[in-house]
């Protein structure tokens, strides 16, 4: 095939473009693109790279605030955490690849998100992940859980960044599309942040890291399409990770940045070399010219098309200050990395690629970047589920069974089997992690009294029932979890996972969830600084439950003043902060004990959220509480059971309330916390003064979890059920 021959509509359609989009390319170029040019357009215009369906709505998020140094649009968001320190973080999905090849899909998801963070000049210091799997009884689920968990561990453990937190859900809605969202947090100095925009023309463009191979070609396009029966055939589009190479890349990149030789830098992630050079030149308003013969190649006879679309992992592209090539080369050699100057920035506003003496691509950058298609997808008014009257929801006939069902259900059972496979302690700054029973992970800002609190949250069943309230709740829960360890919530990253946006009812979920999240972010002063959108999570026309995952970051000015829920002491009085109406719609009790998924989710009163949270944070700061746990899935019953198990100390609940017992114990009303304190009078007096509702609900002591004549369950039994589910499930053969 001649490199100049027109690619044709047929090839465009195979590359995931629509007939209209192909026609638009021809209009922009005044001619038909050749195969390489079409390849460049197809990946840059893929949903994954262009955000063409979502971009219009992402503008609704508040992205500014006193702590924000750099909001969305860079590789990761940057916030100021005082004293010249900055936290750099982002969350990103690797859903499609992880479903096809769980180990490599998840591993390269972790690798990719770390690159986004160190590309900005930050050393990665913590990883989290938000995972959603199908029904445990689905024949694929066990293998996917096993592969994803070992992939996450295999990569993060080797690179030496602790995996400190996350969440895992199971639901049949994910049978055909699992979600693997990975979050990375890094630390940098505020005056040493690196960006991707090329600052000028005529600067050297240097490639470094692993060689380019034929793996992951069209990964971004694959991630922008639905699955069908032939999805297995897409395995070759999944990249293969090498965490050892990543570790060397981190050290080399940070060392190179330290020399002052780096003018701009970008990792090669989705759409590989294409997106990195297009974005760097595009953002800088310059042009770029590359000689592909110089690209370090793993295989012989790679075509220009393959090199531009390869998603081989652990590769970076940097633009150097003039005359600094030798210095850079010394560092690459020290770390054993492949590297080459493969081109220069230009002033043409075009991307020009040469290969074997021919120009194989020569197109303007603007249509690939700011003038890429932008869609206002139609959406219908969503149907919002109706509130359930708690009095009409049946109470359990057998309370012990109901409690044990909740404590041992797939969404609430202990995740020990998962997190014991993750190195949570490397870097020796981890204070709270998945294994220590706090609502958020806490890592120290190395060598300082400061700590970062980190969490990942979303309750998909709420978003399914009411996208707007569910979106609000995801943000509010992240804010609450950070607060529950005593941190001041600062900012979020998000990972918006939805189905096919071309369907108006899916687009409605997306739009309403974004609007709900935006509202919560505004009221809670919790701006969005980075994020990722993953659409087309559908198989055979069936979409996943809408899942806007939120990654929250908060700051503890003194990490020694923080709270967990493993630290309740004998004779502590338990108080619930916040109002309980007994909201049972879309609750865990309803689903797990009654087999129903109807009803509206609990509404989120953001003003109450803020007031109650500020109150709890002050109690923690003043060391007036021994333990704190947010009330979420499973309501007071599950929160108290978890606090008892983590503290290895019994709890007797003796709530006095007008509500039905099951509404009070299983209701999932928002903006609430369970606190254990030796000085209830002081706390109640302070609450009165602050206008915060608190109510005594029980007392710590003994060796069982009990409530009046409803239930009395020995802790050992509770623990066996809670700890048993996941390992038993994983060791069963299907």
């Amino acid at each position: 095939m001649s490199t100049s021959a027109p690619a044709g509509l047929e090839t465009a359609l195979q590359s995931g473009l629509s007939p209209d989009e192909y026609a638009l390319i021809i209009r922009r170029l005044n001619r038909e693109p050749n195969a390489v040019e079409l390849g460049v357009f197809s990946v840059m215009w893929s949903e994954h790279c262009s955000y063409k369906s979502s971009r219009r709505h992402l503008g609704k998020f508040p992205t500014k605030g006193p702590c924000v140094i750099r909001g969305p649009g860079e590789n990761a968001g940057v916030i100021d955490i005082g004293d010249g320190d900055a936290a750099v973080f982002k969350m990103e999905s690797h859903n499609h690849p992880s479903f096809i090849e769980p180990y490599q899909g998840a591993a390269t998801g972790v690798g990719g998100i770390m690159r986004d963070v160190f590309t900005m000049g930050a050393r990665p210091i913590a990883l989290l992940n938000a995972l959603r799997f199908g029904d445990p009884e689905h024949p694929r689920t066990r293998r996917l859980v096993s592969g994803v968990v070992s992939g996450i561990g295999g990569y993060g453990n080797c690179v030496g960044v602790p995996t400190v937190g996350g969440e895992t859900n199971f639901h049949r809605g994910y049978d055909g599309n699992i979600l693997v969202n990975a979050m990375c947090v890094g630390l940098a100095r505020t005056d040493r942040i690196f960006y991707s925009a090329a600052p000028a023309a005529d600067l050297p463009v240097v490639y470094f890291g692993s060689k380019t191979g034929r793996d992951g070609i069209h990964g971004a396009t694959m991630a922008s399409a639905e699955f069908d029966a032939d999805s297995e055939a897409k395995r070759p589009t999944v990249q293969v990770g090498d965490p050892f190479a990543e570790k060397l890349l981190i050290e080399a990149t940070l060392e190179l940045m330290g020399t002052g030789a780096v003018a701009a830098i970008q990792d090669m992630g989705a759409a590989g070399l294409t997106s990195s050079c297009v974005e760097m030149a595009g953002k800088g308003g310059v042009g770029v010219e590359l000689n592909l013969d110089l690209v370090p190649q793993r295989e012989a006879d790679m075509t220009a098309y393959e090199m531009m679309l390869s998603e081989s992992q652990e590769r970076m592209l940097a633009i150097l200050e003039p005359g600094r090539e030798a210095e850079a080369e010394r560092i690459f050699t020290k770390w054993g990395l492949d590297a080459a100057v493969i081109g220069r920035t230009t002033s043409t506003g075009r991307i020009v690629l040469r290969h074997k003496g021919e120009v194989v691509c020569d197109v303007p950058l603007a249509p690939l970047t700011e003038d890429a298609p932008l869609y206002d997808r139609p959406w219908v008014e969503e149907t919002r589920a109706k509130r359930l009257d708690p009095a009409k929801v049946p109470a359990p006939e057998d309370w012990t069974t109901a409690i044990l069902t909740l404590v041992g259900c797939p969404d609430a059972a202990s995740r020990r089997w998962i997190w014991e496979q993750y190195d949570r302690h490397v870097m020796a700054d981890t204070l709270e992690e998945s294994g220590t029973a706090a609502d958020a992970a806490v890592v120290r800002v190395h060598g300082t009294p400061k700590g970062l609190a980190l969490t990942c949250d979303c309750t998909p069943r709420y978003v399914s029932a009411d996208a707007y309230e569910g979106g609000k709740q995801a943000v509010a829960e992240a804010w609450r979890n950070l607060t529950a360890v005593g941190a001041q919530p600062l900012a979020i990253t998000d990972n918006l996972n939805f189905g096919n946006p071309e369907k108006p009812e899916i687009m409605a979920q997306f739009v309403r969830a974004v609007e709900g999240m935006a509202e919560a972010c505004r009221v809670l002063d919790f701006p969005v600084v980075s994020g990722n959108v993953s659409l087309y999570n559908e198989t055979d026309g069936r979409a996943i439950p809408p899942t806007p995952a939120v990654g929250g970051v908060g700051l503890l000015s003194d990490w020694s003043r923080r709270a967990a829920y493993s630290t309740m002491a004998p004779d502590d009085i338990l108080l619930v902060v916040g109002v309980s109406h007994g909201e049972l719609g879309a609750s865990l009790y309803l689903r797990e004990h009654l087999g129903r998924e109807d009803g509206a989710p609990p509404p989120v009163d953001l003003q109450a959220e803020r007031r109650n949270g500020d109150f709890v944070r002050a109690l923690i700061r003043d060391e007036a509480v021994n333990a704190v746990h947010d009330l979420a899935d499973g309501g007071l019953a599950l929160a108290a059971a978890e606090m008892a198990l983590a503290s290895d100390l019994g709890i007797t609940l003796e709530p006095s309330s007008q509500l039905h017992a099951h509404a009070l114990l299983f209701g999932e009303d928002q903006a609430r916390y369970l606190i254990a304190t030796p000085e209830p009078e002081t706390v109640i007096a302070r609450a009165l003064e602050a206008g915060v509702p608190v109510s005594p609900v029980g007392r710590a002591g003994g060796r069982s979890f009990a409530s009046g004549d409803l239930f009395d369950i020995p802790l050992a039994v509770l623990r066996e059920v809670n700890e048993g589910w996941l390992p038993n499930y994983m060791s069963r053969t299907a």
């Binding site: 295999g154 050892f244 060397l248 496979q421 949570r424 302690h425 870097m427 020796a428 990490w559």
Partner: protein
């Protein structure tokens, strides 16, 4: 006290070891790149840190054991300088022949990260004297190939000569005779799978690891 921490490509606890030594005993620590052929003069301790040297390719520790710096380590060890291999460092020392035995894949076939309780089996070594009457230690472990193996004769000899220094109270990975840490015959080379460098102050869940570094300092 003067210490060196070796840095192989893929080491990831090098900084942790440096910080642990500085904070627990105020050691003066140099970082030594694996390509160096000489070590700083006057060392009291050489640490081979945890991580995945050379990505654990081929076998854990196999390639690192051939690094240029290892000749210098061998020389120093033969002259009686204390050498401690932690986690991946233990694997390197076994591959280098400085310690007997080998570390195999964990019996559960999974990476295991958790806090574990150890018995201090021999409190008379250069690495354990400071434990004193305390005969237990709590540390965190994190490895996929920490299953200590040696033939029965070697194990008997290690036990008989007091070379078994730390033993798991609950065996997490199938290690022969629940061995977590051993020393060589001369008693100056230690291999330990759990991490004292992640348990050197109470904020991290345990400060017992600091006793190991204090022991070395007392003997220096």
């Amino acid at each position: 006290m003067k210490a060196a921490v070796l840095v192989f490509p893929g080491s990831n606890c090098d900084r942790d070891c440096k910080v642990a030594l500085e904070r627990s005993v105020g050691a003066q620590v140099s970082m030594v790149w694996h390509k160096e052929t000489e070590l700083p003069a006057g060392l009291d301790l050489i640490v081979l840190p945890g991580g995945f040297a050379y990505g654990d390719y081929l076998r854990c520790g196999a390639i690192a054991a051939l690094s240029p710096v290892m000749s210098a380590v061998r020389d120093a060890a033969s002259k009686g300088v204390a050498v401690a291999g932690i986690c991946n460092g233990f694997q390197v020392l076994c591959e280098a022949g400085l310690l007997p035995g080998a570390l195999l894949r964990n019996v559960g076939l999974k990476y295991v990260c958790k806090f574990i309780d150890l018995d201090v089996v021999n409190g008379q070594t250069r690495f354990t004297a400071a434990f004193g009457e305390t005969r237990t230690a709590r540390m965190t472990m994190g490895n996929g190939e920490g299953n200590f193996f040696a033939d029965e004769d070697t194990l008997d000899r290690l036990e008989g000569e007091g070379q078994v220094v730390f033993r798991y109270r609950e065996n997490p990975n199938g290690s022969a005779r629940s061995i977590a840490g051993i020393v060589n015959e001369a008693g100056n080379v230690l291999g330990l799978m759990p991490h004292p460098d992640r348990a050197f102050e109470s904020a991290l869940g345990s400060a017992d690891g600091a006793l190991l570094f204090k022991s070395v300092m007392a003997s220096a």
